[in-house]
Symmetry: C2
Subunit: 231 residues, 2 copies
C-alpha cells in the first residue's frame, strides 16, 4: 500500500490532472481547495465541455460512473471523483489537514456541515438548474422534472436562511476556522449567482460572510487560476 | 480546541447517544461502524419514531436541520448528523482509522466510493420509498412526486449493476480492505431488501459479496445490538 504523503513535494512539476469545467460550481470547490493547500502548481486542468455533454460519453463515464465534474486523475491513473473525496485526498497529502479537521470532533462537524451544504443548498440548486431551467440545453437535458426542480429551488432558498442563522453565531460554517464546509457553501452561492437566485431578504450574516470569503485569494482567483493552467 | 482522542477509553461507560430508528438503513450504517470499532458499550440508543414523524418536529429539527436519522449526540451536547460525518468522528476516536482510510489515496477512494454508493444506490432507494410507495404514511409523506420516485428506483437498479461490476474486480467496494464504502452499499441493500427491490439478474458478484458481509458480526447483530441497548 503506497503512502502518498511520503512522496509529496510541493515544488515538483504537475503530476495530477483535474477534469474540469472552468466556471462550474462543483469544480470551483476543488480549485478553492487546491489554492488553500497551495497545490496549484501540482495540477493541470483538462476541460470537459458540459454544454456538449462530454461528461456523459462512455469514455468519461469510465472515469466517473456518475458523469459529473470535477474528477482528479493521479499520476498512477487512479480517478477520484466527488468533491469531498478529492478534498480529503488533497488535504491529507502534506500530512497537515487544514480543510477537513484534525480532531474527531472537528472532522465530524466539518463533514456534517459540508454534507448539509450539499443537501440543503448546492445539490438542490443543481437539480433546479437541470430540471426547471434550460440547464445544459435540450441535447444534454434529456429528462426534466420541472415540479421537482422548483421544489428543490425552494429548498435551497430555505437552506440560505439556515446558513444565515448558523453564521450569526460563528465566523465560519463549521465553527471558528475556515474549512471544507465553507467551500461547499461558497459552491452553492456561486451556483445561485450564475442562476440569479438571490439570497432572501434578511440573510445579512450569510451575505457578509460571502463577501469576506470573496476576498480570499483562493476564491477570488479561482477561474483565473484555471485559465492560466489551460493556457 | 479539545482533542477527543486524548480522552478516549473504550472501557468507560456510555457517554454518547445515538438518535436512532432500530431497523432504519441509515442508522444501520452507524451501528455497523460502531461495532467495527468496538464502541457499542460507549453509546446508548434513543428511538425517534419515524412513522410518527418525530424526526420532523421542531425539537428534533433543532438537533438536525435536515430532519434525518441517525444523529450522534456527544457528552458535551454537540450533535453530529450525517452518516459519513458520524463515521469520520467514530473512526478517528482511537487515532487508528480502519474505516475511512489511512493514506491520502485510501481516504480519497473510500470517500468517493461511499458517496457514490449514496448517490447511485442508497439515496435513490430512499427517494423511491418516500415518493413512489406509501413511505412513512400519509401524515408524514406530505408531498410525493411519484414520477421522480420511480426514476430513482431505476437509477438504484442500475447502481446495483455498477457495484456488481466493481466487485467482480476487487473483494471490497473501495479496494482490498473493508471500509465505510462497504457499509454504505450494505445500507443500500438493507433498504432494497425492506422494499423487496431485488438485485437484477446477473449481479452474482454483488450478491456473493453481500452474503459475505452478512457474516460479519457488525452486520449480523446490528438490530440485536440496539435492542439490547434499548432494553
Amino acid at each position: 500500500m503506497s503512502d502518498d504523503t511520503l512522496h509529496f513535494d510541493p515544488n515538483r512539476p504537475a503530476v495530477m490532472k483535474i477534469h474540469d469545467w472552468p466556471t462550474g460550481p462543483y469544480p470551483a470547490r476543488v480549485r478553492i481547495a487546491l489554492a488553500e493547500k497551495n497545490l496549484q502548481a501540482r495540477v493541470r486542468f483538462e476541460t470537459v465541455n458540459l454544454y456538449k455533454g462530454e461528461h456523459k460519453t462512455p469514455a468519461f463515464l469510465a472515469k466517473n460512473y456518475s458523469g459529473t465534474l470535477p474528477v482528479l486523475e493521479l499520476a498512477d491513473g487512479t480517478f477520484i471523483a466527488e468533491c469531498t473525496a478529492i478534498t480529503e485526498y488533497l488535504d491529507a497529502l502534506d500530512g497537515a489537514p487544514t480543510l477537513t479537521g484534525r480532531t474527531p470532533r472537528e472532522k465530524g462537524l466539518i463533514h456534517m456541515m459540508s454534507r448539509r451544504a450539499e443537501l440543503e443548498l448546492l445539490d438542490p440548486i443543481s437539480v433546479y438548474f437541470h430540471h426547471a431551467t434550460p440547464g445544459l440545453g435540450p441535447d444534454v437535458e434529456v429528462y426534466q422534472n420541472a415540479e421537482w426542480g422548483f421544489r428543490q429551488r425552494d429548498k435551497a432558498l430555505r437552506g440560505m436562511h439556515y446558513f444565515d442563522a448558523v453564521l450569526r453565531g460563528q465566523p465560519f460554517v463549521a465553527g471558528d476556522v475556515f474549512s471544507m464546509a465553507d467551500i461547499t457553501v461558497i459552491g452553492g452561492l456561486i451556483f445561485a449567482g450564475l442562476l440569479n437566485l438571490l439570497a432572501p431578504a434578511g440573510c445579512e450574516a450569510l451575505q457578509a460572510w460571502y463577501a469576506r470569503m470573496g476576498e480570499r485569494p483562493s476564491v477570488k482567483n479561482r477561474v483565473t487560476m484555471s485559465e492560466r493552467a489551460d493556457a
